[in-house]
């Protein structure tokens, strides 16, 4: 039934009680098992990039290395290295996205998984104090989980920051891990 030309009906918007939506897809722990199902051990090998490495990363990725410290775990099956998983967060126009990049030992990207996603609208996202409210919080202990965001249309999200982030992490892997191996 096509009502495109029928009389316009004004509906009052069903206002959402909170401006924040949050979706938890995977914990970091779940992500590493999803990426390296065959792994028998994981080792924290978080990185501190030096100035030379940061310059190299920027040259390869075309985006600044942004941070000195990077959260990384190495996955092993017995003594054999299966790869790495790097954790990162990016802030977009309206959203804060945590994601994990799985890498093969040769530094090629194996898998990208969004861990969680929180969005907001308005000026608060630009406010550092507002962003800090998310630190160490999950959908369970402070954020209203927008369970039905799966069926919201018109919620176009830019993944530019995630795409840039993945490129940056791939460059870090090239600079650091390929030399280690």
């Amino acid at each position: 039934m096509n009502q495109f030309n029928s009389q316009l009906v004004a509906l009052s918007a069903l206002a959402v009680s909170s401006q924040v939506f949050a979706v938890q897809y995977l914990s970091a722990e779940e992500a590493r098992h999803a990426m390296f199902a065959e792994a028998t051990a994981f080792k924290d090998i978080s990185l501190n990039l030096n100035a030379t490495q940061m310059n190299e990363v920027q040259k390869i990725a075309g985006v600044p290395a942004r941070s000195v410290v990077w959260r990384v775990v190495a996955a092993y099956k017995g003594d054999a290295l299966l790869g790495y998983m790097v954790l990162d967060d990016v802030i977009g126009k309206y959203e804060l996205i945590s994601y994990a990049v799985g890498l093969n030992p040769d530094a090629s990207v194996r898998q990208v998984e969004i861990l969680n996603y929180r969005e907001s609208h308005g000026a608060e996202i630009k406010n550092a104090a507002w962003r800090r409210q998310f630190v160490n919080k999950t959908a369970q202990n402070g954020l209203r989980a927008g369970e039905d965001i799966a069926t919201i249309s018109g919620a176009t999200l830019s993944c530019t920051h995630v795409t840039d982030g993945v490129r940056r992490i791939a460059a870090i892997a090239q600079v650091v891990f390929r030399k280690v191996d």
């Binding site: 495109f4 009906v9 918007a13 897809y25 996205i97 994601y99 969004i114 996603y117 919201i152 249309s153």
Partner: protein, 280 residues
């Protein structure tokens, strides 16, 4: 089970319930990644880039996916008298919304869908030099492909949402539309089942122009409306959001042809309520 990955220029969220959820979601992401790879304007070896870089008069073989999208776009171009057209790459590049394709010949001025021949055997021949961009339809097509893959698994229900273009089957879903002028507010479409919903809006853009080309003016439009379309397939819903905006005169007939309905949120905050609820 629910997963999200960055694909198609947005975050693609797939939710599935049933015993096969994990392998089903993995396979659905794989087909979306394949469609992304084939139809990217940016990737030099995509079918779209190969067409854009091919000299006039040369035939190319494209994938079945690309062929399906181009055939549907061609049908819609005919129905909308050329208002909907994938030969808009030049306008999009000129507006700074897409990069100049590397190695491509300058497109012929005023080239249109009539200059792109779709031949048997998945052959495509540009009669004149054209730059195509399937951004207005491929995202919906990718969602349809994912749904098709998910249906092959033992699942009770599934939802695929590619940045607001969504389709689902199984359990009826409460679908909402975001008001682009007040992104924190939502309009409810009620409970829907086994269908697709797509929305297009210029309001999320901070630019003065939007990724919607007026073929008469050969320029991108400023778009102050939000249009959502409910349709049996997401490719139809995705493309018809642009058709409603570009040719309002033909839109009712085209919507009817595809068993689709449109919801418009304009500056007056009026909405045209569809009648597809499951509880009717």
């Amino acid at each position: 089970m629910r997963r999200a990955r960055p694909l198609l220029g947005t975050l693609v969220d797939i939710q599935a319930s049933g015993t096969d959820a994990a392998p089903a979601i993995e396979a659905a992401f794989a087909v979306i990644a394949e469609v992304h790879r084939l139809m990217s304007f940016h990737e030099p070896d995509s079918d779209v880039s190969r067409i854009n870089c091919s000299p006039a008069g040369v035939s190319l073989t494209v994938s079945a996916h690309t062929c399906a999208v181009l055939r549907f776009a061609r049908q819609l171009s005919g129905m909308s008298r050329g208002r909907f057209d994938v030969c808009i790459g030049a306008e999009m590049v000129r507006a700074g919304l897409l990069p100049t394709p590397v190695g491509a010949v300058q497109p012929t001025l005023r080239a249109s869908y009539l200059d792109l021949e779709l031949l048997p055997g998945r052959q495509v021949k540009a009669v004149k030099s054209v730059w195509i961009d399937v951004g207005g339809v491929a995202k919906g097509y990718a969602v349809d492909c994912a749904i098709q893959v998910l249906r092959n698994y033992c699942l009770d229900s599934a939802v695929v949402n590619a940045g607001g273009d969504l389709r689902f089957f199984g359990v009826p879903q409460a679908v909402q539309i975001r008001d682009p002028s007040q992104p924190g507010s939502l309009y409810s479409l009620g409970m829907l089942e086994d269908c697709a919903v797509a929305s297009s809006s210029g309001r999320y853009s901070e630019r003065n122009i939007d990724a919607l080309v007026d073929k008469d003016k050969h320029a991108c439009l400023r778009w102050n409306q939000s249009i959502s379309v409910i349709a049996p397939e997401c490719m139809i819903a995705d493309a018809l959001t642009k058709v409603v905006r570009l040719c309002p005169e033909q839109a009712p007939k085209i919507l009817e042809h595809f068993s689709a309905e449109a919801v418009c949120i304009g500056t007056e905050q009026h909405i045209n309520q569809p009648d597809r609820r499951t509880n009717n």
